[in-house]
């Protein structure tokens, strides 16, 4: 059942259009992550959905009800939602009162307030801090209080705007653990924004890629990461090999794509003559010192241009008639004796390639 729906939602600040015709449907109990670079419009979209801002044009439906309608009781509607802001903000009062304030604003009786607040503090693992001043907590602890404060009112939808931005890895892990627990325990609809792709991947059932104010693609984690529908999404989700080519021949689903005088075989239903971008994730490329004898249809002789070791992996930039970037382990690199200028073979399967139509 659709809980939130936007139709051609746009937002302009003066002449700057920060959201462009966003069409989005969120199901009840779904965990949806908006991913996109900083400044893509994620916060603006969440603020509109939480009724903190009005859209410049378009419609927004909550549970089938048009939110822009004058008949809607906006306060009652707001009380069905909660929002955890990017920067943890606590009020200048103790931890218990911080978490309880949403319930007090709803005029619940004190025994219910006490019980629910204590449950929420337990949920985020902050029960022992209940009497301490919230202002003295660390950033991660403040964010857990903010999450408890947002959850204590049992909202139908919880908005999380970059909940771990600017946090150290330990605090990030703790906040993510709390969120994972909430996702498993409660059936709250969660809409979160993040520029951290792996966080989106870990937490959400479905992702939406918002770039330059446009919702370019929505889908499962696998759809977005393995089959990006355009170059901007591909670049954002870390497809570092985006190679321009033209479909030269077809054999059923197999397409032969001309790339700088070389031919790449990939699965595609695009017609012959179509200009395309060939997308290959670096981790799908296998390097070897002799031509690989496996099932890979694409084998190219390459020359190593650059080697960059990051932790336990090595990024290899090579020229194979076209530039290609691959990632292998340090151990594999040592076994292959990789060095700049060395000739090696790169191979990848036709199924590891995603081909998209090129518009320019």
């Amino acid at each position: 059942m659709v809980l939130i729906e936007t139709v051609n939602l746009s937002k302009k600040y003066a002449e700057r259009e920060v959201l462009k015709n966003v069409n989005l449907k969120i199901e009840r109990a779904e965990v949806f992550a908006l991913i996109g670079p900083t400044g893509a419009g994620k916060t603006t979209l969440i603020r509109i959905l939480d009724l903190l801002e009005a859209p410049s044009s378009g419609q927004f439906f909550f549970n089938g009800e048009d939110v822009s309608s004058h008949q809607v009781d906006r306060l009652a509607l707001k009380r069905r939602m909660s929002y955890v802001h990017q920067r943890p903000l606590v009020f200048n009062m103790n931890v218990f009162d911080n978490v309880a304030c949403g319930l007090r604003w709803r005029h619940l009786n004190s025994s219910i307030i006490k019980r629910k607040t204590e449950e929420a503090l337990d949920l985020v693992g902050m029960a022992s801090f209940r009497n301490g001043s919230a202002k003295t907590l660390s950033g991660g602890e403040m964010q857990r209080i903010a999450i408890a404060r947002a959850l204590v009112t049992e909202p139908e939808v919880l908005f999380l705007d970059e909940p771990t931005a600017n946090m150290d890895p330990v605090s990030t892990a703790k906040v993510e653990e709390v969120l994972a627990h909430i996702i498993n325990q409660r059936k709250t609809t969660i809409i979160m924004s993040t520029h951290n792709m792996s966080q989106g991947q870990r937490m959400a059932n479905r992702l939406g890629t918002l770039i330059g104010g446009e919702l370019l693609q929505t889908g499962t984690v696998s759809d977005i990461f393995n089959q990006p529908q355009n170059r901007a999404v591909a670049e954002f989700v870390g497809v570092e090999n985006i190679i321009r080519g033209v479909v030269e021949g077809k054999d059923n689903e197999l397409a032969s794509i001309a790339v700088n005088g070389e031919k790449i075989t990939a699965i595609s239903n695009l017609p012959v003559g179509e200009k395309v971008d060939v997308l290959i994730r670096p981790e799908y490329i296998v390097f070897s010192s002799t031509p690989a004898s496996g099932s890979a249809r694409n084998v190219f002789k390459c020359q190593v241009n650059r080697i960059n070791t990051i932790g336990s992996s090595v990024r290899i930039e090579a020229t194979c008639g076209f530039p290609l970037l691959g990632v292998i382990t340090v151990q594999s690199a040592q076994e292959l004796g990789i060095s700049i200028g060395k000739e090696i073979y790169a191979s990848f399967k036709a199924t590891a390639i995603h081909v998209i139509k090129r518009w320019n």
Binding site: L52, R79, Y83, N92, M93, G102, R149, T153
Partner: protein, 229 residues
Amino acid sequence: MDQILVGFAKAFQLIVSFDPEVMEITGRTLAIAVLSCLVSTLFCIPLGSLIHFRNFRGKRVLINVIQTFYSMPTVVVGLMIFIFFSRVGGPFGVFNLMFTPTIMVIGQVILISPIVLGLTVAALSGVEKGVFETASSLGASRIQATLLVIREARYAILSAVTLGFGRAISEVGLALMIGGNIAGYTRVITTAIAMETSKGNVELSIALGIILIILALLVNIILNRLQQK
């Protein structure tokens, strides 16, 4: 130097002996200053919130005007009140308020309100911008979110009230001009000091001055205690 020591001794004697006249003047001084401060606070906090939360044309100019009135001379306020409340030709003369404690409260409210109002606006501006919005996103109504912002600014607002109280209890020109320093009716510590000094009764003036400072100190201690809560 001897005069100061004698003044201290006299002050001590007046306090421990609960001198009826001094007690009466002290009580009136405190009552007028506290009442003025209370009235001013009661309308300056809502008005300050209105100025802070509403965006309107001329808002910056209005704040500048309020800040200019921080340093308004007490005698100018006295003069204006005299003109408006004078029994001879004053538009509010019919109320017959001149030379009463009531007009002294009105005068002090006018005197200290720019300070309480201006510093309330500044205190609210100092609250983190996200507080109102966070409250709103947690289901607070506009009034509930506004009250939260005021609560967050409580220490700075209390400082504004403390400053207003300090100005009210220490001013003399206004009290003299519109109160008239009538014994047993409108005489307060500052006007009594002015009168006793002009009579050459310096020791008593010093004693009253010390009592005034002790009074201000006690009120400030109470307000500071409230701030720390």
